[in-house]
């Protein structure tokens, strides 16, 4: 598998077609460096992370180093042309996601038109009847989206997953760049790298633009965190700091007369926009989970009354569901009138009899996923599966086909990565962050590149040996 992968520096897996143009300067530079250079720079990078990111190192309470996500010092490069293609595709896709959510929580024309089966919506655990027909400020649901993209060839990109709830990782995008600029000023001098540091400004502009229409003054924005024991707390405090908004916990907020206030040293202060980094389930114990202590009682009342904007909106989880994902090409066409610029990974919906028989016949070549599963649970990787596992999945598929989808095993592209044996190709993906405001869709050029550090591994998750890289969009 790994041998056949497209390498973003050397082209095809064999490496015979020579260095691709965008990587020429980097490749030459890599060859010039003495062998010990990368080790020195890597330990410097780690030191920088400890310093600027020391907080996420110590949050786990049980000590430092293992809490740092490995950082690879070799950047991943994208050309301006590649990026503009991705950017157009991302804008189109997120616009479609917003229109889709507005529709399924409103007139439901896409269901009537047969674009998506009704039961996939109604029986979906992420579909929130509580917000059906509730007007949402400016009709925007997914204010912050993280779209996971993989590449398999020079011009072949696929969307692997839409993260439309509370996507995280943007602090790594920003911190990685910060560290790279300190470590390799000479590399930045040789490349024209589009900046990402304006992300917090873009996020703030987005959040301010979606304040309820009734807010006449300067809107007050706050970031709601589950608190310092949450694994992403570092990112929450980092962003609040860069945005210059209050980082609030549930106990800092209260609702009176369907309005949300925070407790401040000057008395109660109205809050208009809440960038919430807690899940729907925990938002309001009066409406969702009654045992939630992370939530604010009454906040849904204020939301329904249109007195506060929640970003992202309640109920966006349905659009990052794996079964709904398979309908994205149709959803994009229905709501934008155009074909999707960014392709989905070809997917068989096992709920459809023809697809099911194809999947059963080719099980050993495919990846089978549970529609509501996450984190790799309930997943079959055909090429690596034993006879017993294949048999077991055959049984499961026949018994409950609508619970599964199947995809080909994709050969993710590789990028040069510094590992124990030196610079070697490793598989990567990309998560750009898309911001939807009332005025425009904003995307800073770049995103978070995750890299599977183990040779041949396709798993980029940090929990399973994944690391991150700085992503450079070359401007000209």
């Amino acid at each position: 598998m790994a041998g056949a992968a497209f390498d973003e520096m050397n082209g095809s897996g064999s490496g015979t077609d020579g260095v691709r143009p965008p990587y020429e300067a980097l490749s030459a530079w890599l060859k010039q460096q003495p062998p010990e250079f990368f080790n020195t720079r890597r330990s410097q990078a780690e030191l920088f992370f400890r310093r600027i990111g020391i907080t996420f190192a110590v949050y786990g309470e049980n000590e430092t180093s293992e809490r740092l996500i490995p950082f690879d010092i070799i950047p991943r490069l994208l050309t301006k042309a590649e990026w503009s293609f991705l950017e157009r595709g991302l804008k189109q896709r997120v616009a479609a996601l917003n229109a889709f959510l507005k529709d399924i929580y409103g007139p439901q024309e896409c269901i009537r038109a047969g674009i998506i089966p009704a039961d996939l919506v109604y029986r979906n655990p992420h579909y929130r009847l509580e917000v059906k027909d509730i007007p949402i400020p400016h009709d925007i649901y997914v204010h912050v989206a993280g779209i996971d993209i993989v590449r398999v060839g020079p011009n072949e990109f696929y969307v692997l997953e839409d993260n439309a709830r509370t996507p995280s990782g943007v602090s790594y995008m920003l911190e990685n760049r910060e560290v790279m600029m300190r470590l390799f000023p000479e590399l930045f001098a040789r490349h024209h790298v589009a900046p990402v540091e304006n992300y917090p400004d873009a996020l703030l502009a987005t959040l301010r633009s979606v304040a309820p229409e009734s807010v006449a003054r300067d809107p007050v924005v706050a970031l709601l965190t589950p608190g310092r024991y949450n694994s992403a707390f570092y990112e929450h405090s980092f962003l609040a700091d860069k945005l210059g908004v209050e980082l609030v916990e549930a106990s800092d907020l209260f609702v009176k007369d369907e309005r949300v206030y925070m407790r401040t040293t000057q008395g109660p202060t109205r809050v208009d926009v809440i960038y919430r980094r807690i899940d729907d389930d925990f938002l309001d114990p009066l409406v969702f989970r009654p045992d939630s202590i992370l939530g604010v009682p009454g906040i849904m009342g204020a939301y329904r009354a249109g007195n506060v904007t929640l970003a992202n909106a309640v109920g966006t989880g349905i659009s990052d569901d794996k079964a709904v994902y398979t309908y994205m090409p149709e959803i994009v066409r229905f709501f934008t009138g155009e074909d999707a610029i960014l392709k989905n990974v070809p997917t068989w919906r096992c709920r459809e009899p023809e697809a099911l028989s194809h999947v059963l016949a080719h099980l050993s070549e495919l990846v089978v996923k549970e529609v509501n599963g996450s984190g790799g649970y309930g997943m079959l990787v055909g090429p690596h599966a034993s006879k017993r596992e294949l048999d077991e999945f055959t049984r499961k598929l026949k018994h409950n086909p609508e619970n599964f989808i199947a995809q080909p095993t994709l050969s993710l592209s590789t990028c040069p990565t510094f590992v124990a044996s030196g610079v070697a190709p490793r598989h990567v993906d990309l998560r750009p962050f898309v911001l939807s405001g009332a005025d425009e869709i904003r995307i800073v050029p770049g995103g978070l590149t995750r890299v599977a550090l183990k040779e041949g591994s396709l798993v980029v998750n940090s929990s399973q040996g994944g690391g991150t890289k700085d992503t450079w969009v070359l401007d000209g």
Binding site: I54, T55, S237, V248, E249, R263, T265, Q266
Partner: protein, 312 residues
């Protein structure tokens, strides 16, 4: 600013100030106990250290005797004592962590490093190492305070840290006087008595004012002047008078910024007026102990008023 943020800033300063105070008590007591018995008067200085630092009942429930080993353990290292140096540093850092964004990175670094470093220390260290540990604690608090002074914006966040330090300092000084007031009463003065001299200088050391005393009074140590220095002298950083100067100043800045005055401003201003119109003779004639007890109560009342007005 969020009330919770102000609360954390206030308490992180209080606890870091308290760590310094406990270190000073331990330092002064160690010095006193190294003197020959005839100088220290044969009292159990460790009992007295305990009384000054407070929480005697908790101590009794954890240890059977008060000696160097147990008091050292209780005041410096025991996590079950909320005012032990270890607990103070942990609580200060815990407060800092929850309001990370309200702090400068320098302040966070100092608190976090202190917390990491504190893990290395335990009561199994020698007297010499312990003395170095106390120096370290004092230096850490200086650094934290210095970072706040040098790096924080001069806005309400900074003002609340100053309020926390000042109210804690006032309380600490008052506690020492509450425990040792009898040493300062005129009837205990004996001409040429060396015994009390060392007690007085110990009090001065506990508030790091021994050198200051000589500069201010240019006299040998006299008990009423010690009381004057600790209570009424505005030049003395840890005196009641100076603490209330600071409290009034920062409470006024907060009131101006927020456009509203309240009970905390009234209580602080009232106490400052009382301190500036008193003389040490009056205080002695009306009863030093009563005066100190009243001060402690009033200082607590101010703490509650600040909490009520801003921190909840």
């Amino acid at each position: 600013m969020l009330s919770r943020t102000a609360d954390s800033l206030f308490w992180l300063s209080r606890y870091s100030e308290r760590a310094d105070f406990v270190a000073r008590i331990l330092d002064a007591t160690l010095r006193l106990t190294t003197l020959p018995q005839s100088y220290s008067g044969g009292r159990n200085e460790w009992e007295s250290a305990l009384a000054s630092a407070g929480n005697v009942e908790l101590f009794r429930s954890l240890y059977s005797v008060a000696n160097e080993d147990t008091v050292r353990d209780f005041l410096a290292f025991n996590p079950r004592n909320p005012s032990s140096i270890r607990s103070c540093i942990e609580t200060a850092r815990e407060n800092a962590r929850s309001v990370r964004t309200a702090l400068t990175s320098e302040m966070w670094d100092d608190l976090n490093c202190a917390w990491l470093e504190m893990k290395k220390y335990d009561n199994d260290i020698s007297q010499e190492e312990f003395a170095r540990f106390l120096d370290w604690v004092k230096r850490v608090v200086l650094t934290i305070d210095g970072s706040a002074y040098r790096t924080m914006l001069r806005n309400d966040a900074y003002w609340f840290t100053r309020l926390g330090s000042a109210i804690e300092r006032a309380d600490n000084t008052a506690r020492i006087l509450d425990v040792k007031y009898y040493l300062l009463l005129p009837e205990t003065e004996r001409v040429g008595g060396s015994l009390d001299y060392f007690q007085w200088t110990t009090i001065l050391r506990e508030v790091s004012a021994l050198t200051a005393y000589h500069w201010v009074y240019r006299e040998s140590v006299k008990p009423w002047l010690v009381a004057d220095l600790l209570i009424l002298n505005r030049q003395m950083p840890r005196s009641f008078a100076n603490c209330y100067e600071i409290l009034v100043r920062y409470l006024d800045l907060i009131a101006d910024a927020y456009g509203r005055r309240g009970p905390s401003q009234r209580i602080a201003t009232g106490m400052r007026a009382r301190l500036s119109s008193s003389s040490i003779d009056e205080i002695f004639s009306r009863g030093l102990h009563e005066f100190v007890t009243e001060f402690i109560d009033e200082n607590n009342r101010l703490g509650l008023a600040i909490a009520e007005q801003y921190l909840s």
